[in-house]
Symmetry: C2
Subunit: 366 residues, 2 copies
């Protein structure tokens, strides 16, 4: 079931190529301007790195829909799905076509990444996390006020940037609607996550619902936004949304596995921090069902004082009751379900890549 | 220059009538739903009161533009400025007019109030203020995490609500653009405000620029949004935006005067708290220019320990050097300038009311 090594390399290469283009587009969309400290703080996490997985999903979906060869077409002038009309305009003065023949897909991709960055900044405040992507979190590097404001600035900037795709206005309205409802759901999911920390009876289904809202909806938005902006039919939009929800949930489950299994230096934060902070994951929810006392797995409640051997023992126990295998299996099921939904797309290289990206999301080592 | 008492009563009555309608519309737009605690926290400040001045400006501007008698027309089905076509549609199957003949102006009004509420919640965290509208601030009543999330939820909800006006999609896109850029400017203004607290050389013009971004832009948006949604020309949109900027700046200057002159129980917070917290206002900026050592005006740095007589002495000194008079004069000039811009509107009762509201913003006692 795992990706052959050559395929995995090809996916990494594809993600990397798009990541570079997204990295170039971010400073164009978010230049450091007055007040400089605010914009520096807003850019801080975006500049610190990130694989740009959501923009990559968005740009690759656009390629699959337009049925163009991956990386063959300028994302800034990307074809829509409208039939091109070569007849001259009836009214000589108004030669502007009502529906533009191209859109700026990169603007949509950057918008989604900017939303992701806003949520990370505010989440780190809420969890009082010190590190993110191997650098201090924004409220540590700057201060609480600046971090709240930087997140708020990115929030509205994401809407401004999404308004710059040049899409027909009815499609732009639909895209903004998806962006707004996605942000609302992310907040709802985060609120559930906070609530779950106080509860000991969270079921796997409740956990997956929370993950859907907190994490998967932004993958869903990434996958369906090009369909909306390019003018695809509703069936296609819905199928792509479903693909994003499936692979987004799988991504989060895999992330929770990685938190337990990847060395701290590769993670960019303390391994096992979810256990120390008593965050619910699909793994702990499953283990509790098997009779494991999650609170007793790690005694330390301070990520800076936990030892590697404490984490090792906890992971061994979670493996013994099958919770890590359970999580891996659920992630795999979701990825397969998501890939099936891509049947709605033309059979092309970009669609293959979307399948490979789905596999990569649960195969990646960090 | 002050409003005659009968006129002031009429303005209060007009504001009151619209406030009630807005109060009814808020729970419809923001029902308490799962996760309940998040939505309760989001509604907490909105339910605690507020004069709904920005929605009132928006609704009254819509009435002036449509040239209808104030309160004669359902805000939910409010006329646009388009010529009504009575000719049957050319295509029998598509009887839907391309440009709807009515819009939901109340949705736009609620959206603006929701943005205002989001900024208050996050501002109170940043300033660590305990009280707002006579009740605990959201991060005190709930907690920091919930307050950040409640603000973030209102942020995206405001965009969702603005998408429900039913306006033609090109106008909806323009309205969302105004909303997004307004939010960005509010964040920039708040960042300048935080920055100014560290500086002693802020000029009156710098202060007014900050106030324009932090406060006035939301009045500007409130005044120009109906023009955009109803389909007014650019000159009208620009003039109304200017009216909002002028009266919004005047509003903030007057608010700063009130902080010094209105008893704490009426203010809903400690009188003189701006001085204690060393916040820059037009008054302190002017007084510093007159050689007053602002930092020495009040020795206490804790709003809970300052005495009324300390505040009285500080205010007397600010009055002696003419700083309060200066602020009042600047506010009056801005209001007169703003009222002049309304010449672009039809000469009707609603336009009169917009002039009276402008006067009220700097005459109100709290």
């Amino acid at each position: 079931m795992t990706i052959p090594e050559a395929r995995e390399e090809a996916v990494l290469e594809a993600v990397n190529q798009r990541r570079k283009l997204v990295n170039d587009a971010i400073p164009e969309a978010l230049p450091i301007q007055r007040p400089e400290r605010l914009y520096e703080a807003s850019r801080y996490l975006l500049d610190a790195g990130g694989k740009r997985l959501r923009p990559t999903v968005l740009l690759t979906t656009a390629e699959a829909l337009a049925d163009v060869e991956p990386l063959s077409t300028d994302y800034r002038e990307f074809p829509t799905l409208d039939e091109r009309s070569d007849s001259p305009a009836a009214d000589g003065e108004d030669t502007q076509p009502q529906t533009p023949e191209t859109i700026d897909a990169m603007a949509a991709a950057v918008s989604v990444e900017v939303i992701q960055s806003f949520t990370l900044i505010h989440d780190d405040i809420m969890d009082d996390d010190d590190l993110r992507r191997g650098v201090p979190s924004v409220h540590r590097e700057y201060d609480l006020e600046t971090a709240i404001l930087a997140g708020d600035t990115l929030y509205s900037k994401a809407f401004e940037i999404m308004l710059e795709t040049g899409a027909a206005s009815d499609r732009a309205v639909d895209a903004l609607d998806v962006l707004a409802t996605t942000c609302t759901k992310i907040c709802e999911g985060q609120a559930l996550d906070v609530d779950f920390e106080q509860r000991e009876d969270v079921s796997p289904e409740e956990y997956l619902e929370m993950v859907e809202q907190k994490t998967a909806v932004l993958y869903a938005a990434s996958a369906c936004l090009p369909a909306i902006l390019q003018g695809a039919d509703q069936e296609t939009i819905d199928a792509l949304y479903g693909y994003g929800l499936d692979v987004g949930r799988a991504f989060q489950i895999h992330d929770d596995v990685l938190d337990l299994t990847v060395p701290s230096e590769e993670l960019g934060k303390q391994r096992g921090s979810d256990l120390v902070e008593e965050k619910q994951t699909l793994i702990t929810v499953h283990a509790r069902d098997q009779g494991v006392e999650i609170e007793d797995l790690v005694d330390t409640e301070d990520v800076e004082r936990v030892t590697e051997s404490e984490i090792d023992d906890a992971v061994a126990e979670l493996e013994r009751v099958g919770s890590i295998t359970y999580a891996n299996n659920r992630a795999r099921e979701l990825v397969e379900q998501g890939k099936d939904r891509l049947e709605v797309l033309p059979d092309n290289e970009a669609r293959e890549l979307l399948c490979d990206i789905a596999d990569y999301l649960i195969e990646r080592g960090y």
